[in-house]
Amino acid sequence: MIDLGILFEEFYLFIALAVLGDIVVERSGVLNLGIDGFIVFAIALTYTCTVVFNPIVALAITLASAIVYAILISLLINVMHLSHILSGLVLNMIFYGLSVVVGNIGLSLAPIYLRRRTLVAPITLNWGVILLISIAVSIAIWLFLYRSRIGVAIRACGFNPKAADHLGVKMWRTRFIALALGYIVIAFSGYVYTLLYKKSWSSYIGMGYGFLTLALAMASLWHPLIALIPVTIFSYLERSLYIYQLEYGIPQQILSMIPYIASIAFVTFVSALPISKRLAIPRALGEIYFKEERAA
């Protein structure tokens, strides 16, 4: 058995928030490959801003950077009608690079501001609080996506952009709102990672978690309430890697594959079921929406 305090720790909150933010974005039909670059960047930005200013200013700046990132993606895929995949990959590359530049500023400034390079967490959360926050955020996002007017519009954009447009949903605006809100949640996850979990920074820290987030979001069929189940299973596996290796001799690498294999297998299984026709998963994921010859 595993201790709940180890399972629901800060890392759990980080992954849960990133997955929930990703779900908001992908529900609007935006294939969110740019998430990995942004998570890496948000982690570095939080570190540097905390060193230079304080945790509260760092939070404000990181959240502001989320909106800038959303504007960038929106510019590329909404205004310039470029492929979501290409835009995501290119933005990743730029922001991986920027993250190291930004993080290094923090590392070099730390001695000047007479601070240690390891940060001090402003608050410590016990496992109950972390679980509560995760559940609260997931319910809030569910309410937003399923019970509010704009949330329904976002899901319509992800399901069938053309039909949504004919019903009077403004595609550009809706996708931008989804991007901005989703990225604010994702930025918050990066903030949690730096300040509460890792407390230090090194080059490219956090790289690859963005793509893992995409896998977990897919495994939850892009539903905010289901999302916590794959996150919990992943967090459990991650925490117990060494236990399994020592006690049962299962190699660590094989266990690390499981989230990816499981999410592909689960989505395949669900798609093969007859109910998949009626399932409201974002079918238009990655579709470029071009509105012919009309003014914006």
Binding site: M80, I85, V90, M93, I94, V100
Partner: protein, 350 residues
């Protein structure tokens, strides 16, 4: 009231070529200026280094990776199938080639060993690509996400092998296999770390892929699939078959690259992250740089490999690698802009 609209258009071929060339030159300017300003190196020094990189042959080592991978991806992208798994297919190819070269008697035979290894590597890459292709065609699972995830599965598979059953006895505990037999290796071009044989194969692939895509029945069907699947079905060719062929071919070429990386460069199996090293992702952008045209892919891959090599040449502290990523990213933003300019026009109505 002023209204801004975005309208589709087709750019004339000469303006399109001009656009691409100006992007390439603008990219070099961006590289020079970002290196000069962010790292504080004098501009003329950077410029001479950059020109040097474009003249020297070292970049050809990366071209043996980018050229075949990009050609394969061009096939898949023509069919509007997003194969983001070149990275994983390269790793699988490397695993396949290592298996033949190291663990079968064929590896000891000169010439035959290398050939069989490369063929087996291609098969491994193709099979790795077959999984998302089948999921896509029969169940409609988003192929971009599945291929992306299979990259990580491939990484962990390679890591499992080099940390576990395949770990070499003569490598002092490093996570590597033993070196492959000398008979199986491609000899290096004197003074450089690339071999002439894979380059010849890569260049031979260029007209082959072009002929395949533009002159054969199945190739034309692949290109038609990108614009209309129904048209393909109506012409009497199975849409599923075409999609699977496009995907498997792109996987096979990426697998070939992986096998070649083992035979030519690493000469053993190393952890997954070191085999692909992100080059599978960059290949995706190489194809779009060439506007999906197989005949332009060699130029685009030469350009990108030179930029890739530039990262190794300029070594100023630990920031270099990151700054290089940053400016390569900016160059690709220019490329995205050129795609927009080539396809759309902004109209201002009063």
């Amino acid at each position: 009231m002023v209204k801004v609209a975005i309208v589709r258009r087709e750019l004339p071929i000469w303006s399109n070529i001009l656009l691409r060339i100006s992007v390439a030159i603008g990219g070099i300017a961006l590289a020079v200026s970002s290196l000069a300003f962010l790292l504080g190196i004098p501009v003329d020094l950077v410029a001479s280094r950059v020109i040097d990189v474009f003249i020297r042959l070292d970049a050809l080592r990366y071209m043996t990776v980018f050229l075949p991978t990009a050609l394969g991806l061009a096939i898949a992208f023509h069919a509007k199938l997003w194969n983001l798994g070149a990275e994983g297919q390269i790793v699988l190819g490397a695993i396949g080639a290592t298996y033949i070269a190291l663990f079968t008697p064929v590896g000891e035979v000169p010439f035959l060993g290398a050939t069989v290894s490369l063929v087996f590597a291609s098969i491994a890459g193709a099979l790795w690509a077959l999984v998302p292709a089948l999921l896509r065609t029969f169940l409609g699972v988003n192929e971009a996400l599945t291929t992306l995830m299979m990259n990580y599965i491939a990484y962990y598979l390679a890591n499992y092998l080099v940390y576990g059953p395949w770990r070499g006895r003569t490598v002092y505990g490093y996570p590597e296999t033993d070196p492959i037999p000398t008979q199986c290796r491609f000899p290096w071009f004197p003074g450089y770390s690339f071999s002439i044989y894979p380059l010849i194969i890569s260049f031979a692939l260029v007209p082959l892929v072009y002929m395949f895509l533009y002159k054969t029945r199945i190739g034309i069907a692949i290109r038609a699939l990108g614009s209309s699947g129904t048209a393909v079905e109506l012409s009497g060719i199975s849409r599923r078959k075409v999609a699977i062929i496009a995907f498997v071919l792109s996987g096979a070429l990426a697998g070939f690259v992986g096998g070649n990386e083992v035979l030519m460069y690493h000469r053993k199996l190393v952890p997954g992250e070191k085999i692909g090293a992100g080059m599978g992702f960059i290949s995706i952008l190489v194809v779009w740089f060439a506007d999906l045209n197989p005949l332009v892919v060699p130029l685009a891959s030469y350009y990108v490999s030179s930029l890739h090599y530039l990262r190794m040449v300029i070594q100023v502290g630990e920031l270099t690698e990151a700054v290089a990523r940053f400016f390569v990213g900016l160059i690709f933003v220019l490329m995205l802009l050129s795609i927009f300019v080539a396809r759309y026009r902004v109209v201002v109505k009063r």
